[in-house]
Amino acid sequence: MSLLELDDVSITYRIASGDVPAVRGVSLSLDAGAALGVAGESGSGKSTLAMALLRLLPRDARVGGRILLDGEDVLAMKWGRLRAVRWAEASIVFQGAQHGLNPVRRIGEQIAEPLLVHDLAKPDGARKRVAELLEQVGLPAWRARSYPHELSGGQRQRVMIAMALACSPRLIVADEPTTALDVMVQAQVLALIKDLVAERGISLIMISHDLSVLADVCDRLAVMYAGRVVEHGPSHEVFRDARHPYSSALAAAFPTVGDPVSRMAPKGLGGDPPDPMALPTGCSFHPRCPVALDECSSLDVELWPAGERRAAACVHVRAKEETP
């Protein structure tokens, strides 16, 4: 059975100037022990979706659809149950949160906090657990006494992961865990995340705008554009042979060093990211799409099958599948 199941999830922020439809009908599922990558343009709704999983959105956000964690609807949970789920079953490493560590408290105290608050440990036990957690993320135990400013960016990101692991969750949601880290440190953090998934059976949802990073860590990928999933499938297939033109553009944005095709030929996508309050008609991607047809400006696109366990929301995919 899948650990997490999203069924037609929609999320709308209500602001003074109107409604912002940030997520528009997303259905996804994640098997226990699997890793799912979510990619997409800035503003496509990735973080909004992640926060909805544990009902961490601001009050002005309206959520529709169903979010089933182990078969239980998160949106219908009572407050007490939700709290229990938040610390024991799933935790989020927030985007940019490594900058949000409390600057005047030692790392160890910050990692121990949820354990003490939820009565999962006495101070002595918590200290031992902190040392264990630090070791799991590749930091020496003495780092518990350090303050955040004494750590590098990559080390702070490890601390965030240690905090997420503190209550032994079954699911971790990591929102842009390596963005802004340099290549070597990124490789260190990714290796750590991969180990957690492979060796400890933790399920993972990882968000990034870099498809190559996601393909490296995750089994499956979902690509979002303007609040919708426009393509999903096995990671390497989506990365190497995308079926939606937006996914192709994302994949091409990070060239393979050594590939003569990309030498002196950076590839980008013209036009501007969509404004959720004034979405284009038809396929939301059509104004920027290099292979758009006339009908794309009016067509209701949906996720059409695009091969074994794959789907993409593009007219060209539908055409291909229909002609045998």
């Binding site: 290549v183 002196m264 980008g268 501007d272």
Partner: protein
């Protein structure tokens, strides 16, 4: 997907060796006091950017890239060594610096941080020409915006930064730099804060500016894909010094320095990874011998010993690499295992 291909052939056809050095660092050192010690942020660098050449400066966080870039711009004074522009030593007097800043312009990483939220696009781009008292401000601004791909320029004059997308903001920053008609752009992580889909557009713009205006550029980044996308030459920096340099095709397809090899190996899809461990290097404690030896996978795995250089790795300093366009490497092992004795000319 817009592709900018035409620049490719002309660029590749220009042999790097034929370019005249326009901007140069000669045995440059920049030190800062740091907790009672000296941080040698730039610790002996020779580097040249030729006319119409794009050079990428790569290396991990804290290795001294920004400090080197700021020193080349005259924003930081070297502790020793010199910056040369067009053959003459950079004069740090305020009048000379003002003139210099017309020729060599900076483009910063974060377009949101480098634009004043209360200034319109027009005001942002007109600032440079005003400081330098240039005539024909409106035309200059319009042309710079158009060159940066914001067309028609008049449509953007009265917009504020928050009314633009991230890619458009970075274009405004580039337009601001172009307004003074510079010869060299120094771009510090020009696309790091941009969306993946926008990144290619900005890089294509830099290639186009080189093609149309003959602009030279030093692009500071930790992204090797970016270097592959637009640079003629690459210089790899480690702990304040350039440890390998040369034409991009050569350095990035057959890296010789173990550090460059490690950087290449952690790129997604590369078969065998060498993830360097250890704390990020500290410029107040630069190790003796080869500055990379404590983290070097070639030394650790015994390959340096096989080549008979392990003792030298630990104790013998390497020379500062020359700024000439051919490939250079500062590594005892790489020099020992290669048939042609490259060290001779260095």
């Amino acid at each position: 997907m817009t592709e900018t291909q035409p620049a490719a052939d002309t660029a590749a056809a220009t042999a790097p060796a034929t370019r005249r050095a326009l901007l140069e660092a000669r045995d440059l050192r920049v030190e800062f006091p740091s907790r009672g010690r000296r941080a040698r942020a730039v610790d002996g660098v020779n580097l040249a950017v030729g006319e119409g050449e794009i050079v990428a400066l790569v290396g991990e966080s804290g290795c001294g890239k920004t400090t080197l870039a700021r020193t080349l711009l005259g924003l930081e004074r070297p502790t020793s060594g010199e910056v040369r522009y067009d053959g003459a030593v950079l004069d740090h007097g305020s009048k000379a610096l003002k003139a210099y800043r017309r020729e060599v312009q900076l483009v910063l990483q974060d377009p949101t941080g480098s634009l004043n939220p209360r200034h319109t696009v027009y005001e942002a781009v007109a600032e440079g020409p005003r400081i330098h008292g240039l005539a024909g401000e409106r035309e200059i601004v319009a042309e710079a915006l158009a060159r940066a791909g914001l067309r028609p320029p008049e449509r953007f004059f009265l917009r504020y930064p928050h009314e633009l997308s991230g890619g458009q903001r970075q274009r405004v920053v580039i337009a601001g730099a172009l307004a003074l008609n510079p010869k060299v752009l120094i771009a510090d992580e020009p696309v790091a804060s941009l969306d993946a889909s926008v990144r290619g557009e900005i890089l294509a713009l830099m290639l186009k500016l080189r093609q149309d205006l003959g602009l030279s550029a030093l692009v500071v980044t930790h992204d090797l894909g970016l270097a592959w996308n637009i640079a003629d030459r690459v210089a790899v920096m480690y702990l304040g010094r350039i440890v390998e340099s040369g034409p991009v095709e050569q350095v990035l397809t057959a890296p010789r320095h173990p550090y460059t090899q490690a950087l290449m190996s952690v790129l997604p899809e590369s078969p065998e990874r060498v993830v360097l461990t250890g704390e990020p290097p500290d410029p107040t404690r630069i190790p003796g011998g080869c500055r990379f030896h404590a983290r070097c996978q070639v030394l650790a795995s015994g390959r340096a010993a096989e080549a008979g250089v392990d003792a030298r790795c630990r104790s013998e300093l390497l020379d500062v690499l020359p700024a000439t366009p051919e490939a250079h490497v500062a590594c005892h092992w790489a020099r020992a295992v290669e048939p042609a004795p490259e060290g001779a000319g260095a």
